[in-house]
């Protein structure tokens, strides 16, 4: 059967294209605009080529926050993904307790970022906060406003508390979608619990875990509010992640060119990592 070629339907996409260009492409282009120019007062702009990009990439400050950013994202992914899967595996499959667990799990996800930051700030205060006080009472020297280690510990713990649930919910949904006959067949085949996890559950979770990984990567790579409220990037610069640094540079120092270049580098990095990960994860998949 011959299909008639008719591409007129593409015109229907035009309104969407118009809206997307207004809300995404135009703002992005202003950033591109800043990133290649030097600004003086009175709206005087001079073309600078790639100077800002070179400067940003060469600066120790950027490299340091980038390193901090990757360390943070790496650590929270290494904790949240396995932990989320483990929790999802141990949750009840049905009945009232399944619902109770799901609601409890969703709670942290419903709390706004700045509230989470403020909560943990108070929670972790060494003299009056429950966590801070308890740790100190147990003999740990803990003060997140003064010690880099304590600050990192608190930021990571906060993120794990806030976002592991997302991985749990995705993994739980993935687990529920596995047909019973797989478990039955595994029992007939005499498979151990570990074998069931390795050969049935994990392969079936691949897609949701890819999604969870991407979401958590993007989100944690762009994290701003929570550490900003909790530590303000300190002590010193020890918890100054990329976005905090970017805001400092753009709004604190009004360094528009450098900030524009940094934004673009930042954006392209996120895009690149996501693309790489997705391509690798989906390799060998039919369709």
């Amino acid at each position: 059967m011959n299909k008639t070629q008719n591409n007129k339907a593409w015109f229907l996409v035009l309104p969407v294209l118009a809206i997307v260009s207004l809300n995404a492409i135009v703002p992005l282009m202003t950033v591109v605009n800043y990133s290649v120019q030097e600004t003086f007062g009175n709206n005087l702009f001079f073309f600078e080529g790639v100077r800002w990009f070179r400067e940003v990439l060469d600066s120790e400050r950027f490299q340091d926050s980038l390193l901090r950013q990757f360390s943070f994202t790496g650590i929270i992914l290494a904790i949240e993904i396995p932990l989320g899967v483990a929790i999802a595996l141990s949750m009840p499959k049905k009945g009232i307790w399944a619902s109770v667990c799901l609601v409890l799990m969703s709670l942290p996800l419903l709390i706004p970022w700045n509230v989470v930051g403020a909560m943990w700030n108070i929670f972790a205060l060494p003299d009056i906060g429950l966590l801070g006080y308890t740790l100190n009472a147990m003999g740990f020297d803990y003060n997140f406003t003064r010690q880099a280690i304590s600050a990192w510990f608190t930021v990571i713990l906060m993120d794990v508390w806030h976002w592991t649930s997302l991985v749990v919910l995705l993994a739980y949904a993935g687990l529920r979608s596995i047909d019973d006959s797989y478990y039955q067949a595994a029992r007939i085949d005499g498979a151990s619990k570990w074998a069931v996890f390795l050969y049935i559950q994990l392969p079936k979770l691949k897609h949701v875990l890819t999604l969870a990984f991407l979401l958590r990567f993007i989100d944690s790579f762009m994290i701003y509010t929570e550490p900003f409220v909790l530590t303000g990037g300190g002590p010193g610069n020890t918890t100054t992640f990329l976005s905090i640094d970017l805001v400092k540079s753009a709004l604190g120092e009004f360094n528009l060119g450098a900030a524009g270049a940094m934004s673009l580098i930042y954006f392209l990095m996120t895009l690149l990592v996501c693309w790489l990960f997705y391509t690798l994860a989906m390799r060998g998949e039919e369709r």
Partner: protein
Amino acid sequence: MARIDLQHLKHSYIENPMVEDDYALKEVHYTWEDGGAYALLGPSGCGKTTLLNIISGLLRVSEGKILFDGKDVTALQPEGRNIAQVFQFPVVYDTMSVHDNLAFPLRNRGVDEDEVKRRVSETLDMLDLTKWSEKKARGLTADVKQKISLGRGMVRSDVNAILFDEPLTVIDPHLKWQLRSQLKLLHKQFGHTMVYVTHDQTEALTFADKVVVMYEGEIVQIGTPEELFERPSHTFVGYFIGSPGMNVLPVNIEGRTARIGGTEFELAGTPELKPGVRTDLGIRPEFIVLGEKGIPVSVQKVEDVGHHKIVRAAIEGQDISIVIGESASVPADPHVVFDRERVSIYADDWRVEMGG
């Protein structure tokens, strides 16, 4: 290989079953002989799969006992029962190759690698899967996947029984025949006890030595295909086996005389009836002769199904089907005669014997 005794099994999915209808499986008491090929036949929801899962241990039975060769296995998990089961829809381990899929049940049981290789390549050969051996199971078509499932069921030589739960549902018709013959061959070769669940009578009748017909959680008849056809012990069996099914007509019995509406005729014997039961007469469409003598019928339509014709007619307002030869024709004033020896009488749906 084992003899399997099912002793007074009853199963309910409800926690505290009160009435008979709460049971998905009502009182099953039966022995599967060692090395027998059985088919469990019945409509959807009649308890076939429940019974199968109870035998394999996937379900813990509510009441009763299961013995393998005299040993009580009621409390054992499937892995302890050494049973193979093939499910309706293909279950494969996506990330493993076809070879590893088949090797999986063996490796889990610590069989040494040389033996694994030998058994797996034998099974692959038998199912014509050798050319896929090194492929990942994920991308294969449904019928190859189902062959893998079958292979995993058959790869262990020492199993007590192999259970099949409608395994050929997803297989193409032309492959179905071939696979069923292979299963049959396998059964002859290794003598495993095999139980095959299906709702397709052709499948059941061609696969099994003994067909077990289930209806609403009960076994209504166990017999050879011939017995099921000639002497259905329950009206359901008569209706379910054969195409078209047996004609079942409400009848009044007095001694040897049967009366349908205003028509009377003699039976081959006197049915042994308890008073107050509902009586039906069962006669297969194949055993009715259409001619110009006997009971008058009105013919509604004639369906030509190729090798014979099916006449849809009515006696005293009751629909019946009659099978006639491909070249036979319907007379102008149609009458029918029932083959007396083939008439069965049913009391409350159960067949009664004819007395002298």
